[in-house]
Each structure stands twice: as structure tokens, then as C-alpha cells.
């Protein structure tokens, strides 16, 4: 470990990390430096997320023949399927922000493919995920306009309980509130997303029912239905509740926090550095830690909520 500039703003960071002395910097200098750091980390194709997407879905799909043909016992397949659902959101999240390729770029088709394919185990249409997520960015922590605000909770157990509650038939929060958000957006794209969501729902339940009535109810429950519920809880906990907690403040440097989890960066899916994502959504997930450590003195000077990181 090495001590970076002793100025009360800079931090102690491992010597490999780049850090900046921001003491005495003007507003314009701070934003210039912040943007320069962000620019360094943007514009890279996140190949790791692309491989992650296809490998994850391939493993999940392979579980079906393996289990139905009796090659893999269902008790072994269930945790793998659950892990697959937990892991399926983030590659699509990169695509939602056009990180793989923007409209008109050569790899745009791959961006859209990753966006769609990655979310299959979660049964979330890419169009719905993208539009509602961009609304979340636009209105983070706004009780009326942020589609993810319903995950706000007083603590971890309350967050888990709310995630489950929001998924009940007559609940208004969680995924149930996405329809309302799409109707409010009201564009042809949003209307198409609503239609796709209805088709996905019917498709999902038709497959579950067909499997169940053909003698594979337990397999359907443990490879898809229950993993999806566990995965959704996990995703909403780490991607929505934890990085925005207490989710009361609004504004560029107020609506998201940096935080240290006892479970580390991988088990929290990189969300400790979520503040960087909200500031610069086009920085790939795997680059947010490096960008964070470079930006940390600036974030500190800006008054970002930094909880132990």
C-alpha cells in the first residue's frame, strides 16, 4: 500500500492504483479531471461480458437435456441454474447502455444480441429492461418516476422481503411497476416493449405448464421457476437496493453510493462501484473499480456517500 497525496481529500490506495491530488481544484478543473478519467475507461468492447453472456446461457440451456435425460441429478442442477439466473442480467445491462456498440457501429448487432440472449433465463425482454433502466438513470430515487424505487428498504432483510412482496400478483412495485413506466413513456418503442412483455409472460408460463403436465414439474420448478425468483431477489438486492440505499437523495453525486460489502466485489457483482456507473454509464462493468479508485478523491470532494470503500 502507498499513501497518495496527503491533503485530506486523497486516499490511501494500493500502489498500483492511479490517484489524483484534487485539493484546491476549481469546479471546472474537477469536472475536467473526472471526464478525463472516465474517457480513459470508455470505448472499450467488453469482451468478458460478451463471453459471460453466451457461456452463462449455454450452461443454463444445457442443464435441461442433462436433467431430463437423467445425466445430471436435479439437486445438482438447481444451484447451477440459480447461479445462471443471478448472472444473466449484467451482460444485458452492458448492452442496455450500448457499451458493446452504439447505433450505427459495426458490432451493433452483437450489442443487441447480447441484450436479448442474456435475459432469457430471467424472462425479461431486452426492450423492457433497457427502457425502464434508462428511466431509472434519469430519475434515480424519485419515488414517482424511478421504476426501481420500490426496492427502497430500511435494511438487508427488509430489502429481501420487499423484493418478494413486489412480485406478488397485486403488488405495484418491482417488475410489476415496469408496465406503468412503459405506459408513461408512451413511445412506439415502449408500446412494443409492453407487447413483448406480454408475449414473454405467456411464453414462459406456457412452457412451465407444458413441462409440468408432461411429468416434469419438479424439473421446471427447480431449473427455471424457483431460480428465477431467487435470482430476481439477488439482482434487486445488489443492483438496486444496496447501491442506492437509503435511496432518499437525488442528484448526480447523491443518488448512488460507493460501499464496501463483506462479500467482496465478485459476489456483489461489481456493485460496490455503482456510483461510477451512474456518473458514466458507458464505462464497462469490469473497468468501474479502476475508474472508481482514480475518481475517488473527486467523488469525496463532491460529497458522494462513500461507505467504507
Amino acid at each position: 500500500m502507498a499513501m497518495a497525496a496527503i491533503d485530506g481529500v486523497s486516499v490511501v490506495t494500493p500502489s498500483a492504483r492511479v490517484t489524483h491530488d484534487v485539493s484546491g481544484m476549481s469546479e471546472a478543473e474537477l469536472i475536467k479531471l473526472e471526464r478525463a478519467i472516465a474517457n480513459k475507461h470508455m470505448g472499450h468492447v467488453p469482451w468478458f461480458s460478451i463471453v459471460w453472456c453466451f457461456a452463462n446461457v449455454a450452461v443454463w440451456l444445457s442443464l435441461w437435456p442433462l436433467v431430463l435425460l437423467g445425466i445430471l441429478p436435479i439437486w445438482a442442477a438447481f444451484p447451477i441454474a440459480t447461479l445462471n439466473v443471478m448472472l444473466c442480467y449484467l451482460p444485458s445491462h452492458e448492452a442496455q447502455h450500448d457499451i458493446i456498440a452504439r447505433p450505427g457501429q459495426k458490432l451493433r448487432w452483437l450489442n443487441e444480441l447480447v441484450g436479448h440472449v442474456s435475459l432469457i433465463p430471467l424472462v425479461l425482454p431486452f426492450g423492457v429492461g433497457r427502457l425502464t433502466h434508462l428511466e431509472h438513470h434519469k430519475h434515480a430515487n424519485d419515488p414517482h418516476l424511478d421504476p426501481d424505487h420500490s426496492t427502497q428498504a430500511s435494511g438487508p432483510l427488509h430489502a429481501i422481503w420487499k423484493s418478494i412482496k413486489n412480485r406478488q400478483p397485486r403488488a405495484n412495485g418491482g417488475l410489476n411497476s415496469y408496465g406503468e413506466t412503459l405506459q408513461r413513456i408512451g413511445t412506439p418503442q415502449a408500446n412494443r416493449a409492453i407487447l413483448t412483455a406480454v408475449i414473454y409472460e405467456f411464453g414462459f408460463y406456457s412452457i412451465l405448464f407444458a413441462l409440468a403436465w408432461s411429468g416434469h414439474a419438479i424439473e421446471a420448478a427447480l431449473l427455471w421457476w424457483l431460480p428465477r425468483h431467487i435470482g430476481l431477489t439477488y439482482i434487486q438486492f445488489y443492483l438496486s437496493w444496496a447501491p442506492h440505499h437509503p435511496a432518499t437523495a437525488k442528484g448526480r453525486y447523491r443518488d448512488t453510493r460507493a460501499w464496501r460489502s463483506r462479500f467482496g466485489n465478485i459476489l456483489t457483482m461489481g456493485m460496490q462501484y455503482h456510483v461510477v456507473h451512474h456518473l458514466y454509464p458507458r464505462i464497462p462493468l469490469t473497468r468501474t473499480p479502476a475508474a472508481y479508485w482514480e475518481m475517488r478523491p473527486i467523488l469525496d470532494a463532491r460529497g458522494v456517500q462513500i461507505d467504507g470503500l
Partner: protein
């Protein structure tokens, strides 16, 4: 018309889920557990009663959970 039908199906979600999924799921679990249902009911009949009990409860209360 189609929109009304879709809305109706979503409103009846818990009952449809009970019939479409929970009923065969419970029947399969009863069979795997080698449980003999009471009152001379077959596993499929018992599973139907259980699934409908849960489904009706969720349909009426708007939640599958024990508390709101």
C-alpha cells in the same frame, strides 16, 4: 377485445398458475414422497385440492405470502 382477454388472464393469474403448474407439481411431489393421501383420494385429486387452496387464497388476497 384481445386487451380485455389479456387483462382477464392476468387478473386470474394465481388460479391459472395453480391449475397449470402447482397441481401437477404437487402431484409429482406426492408421488415422489410415496405419500398416500387421506380419505381415499388419489395423488392427483389431493394435489388438485392443495393447489386450488393455495391458488384461491392468492387470488382473493392478491398475494402468495402469509402476510401482506
Amino acid at each position: 377485445m384481445v386487451l380485455k382477454l389479456v387483462k382477464f388472464v392476468f387478473e386470474c393469474g394465481p388460479l391459472i398458475f395453480a391449475v397449470g403448474f402447482l397441481w401437477p407439481l404437487f402431484a409429482q411431489i406426492i408421488g415422489l414422497a410415496d405419500w398416500v393421501p387421506p380419505f381415499g383420494l388419489s395423488p392427483l385429486e389431493m394435489a388438485f385440492l392443495l393447489a386450488m387452496a393455495f391458488g384461491l387464497m392468492a387470488q382473493v388476497r392478491g398475494t402468495w405470502l402469509w402476510r401482506q
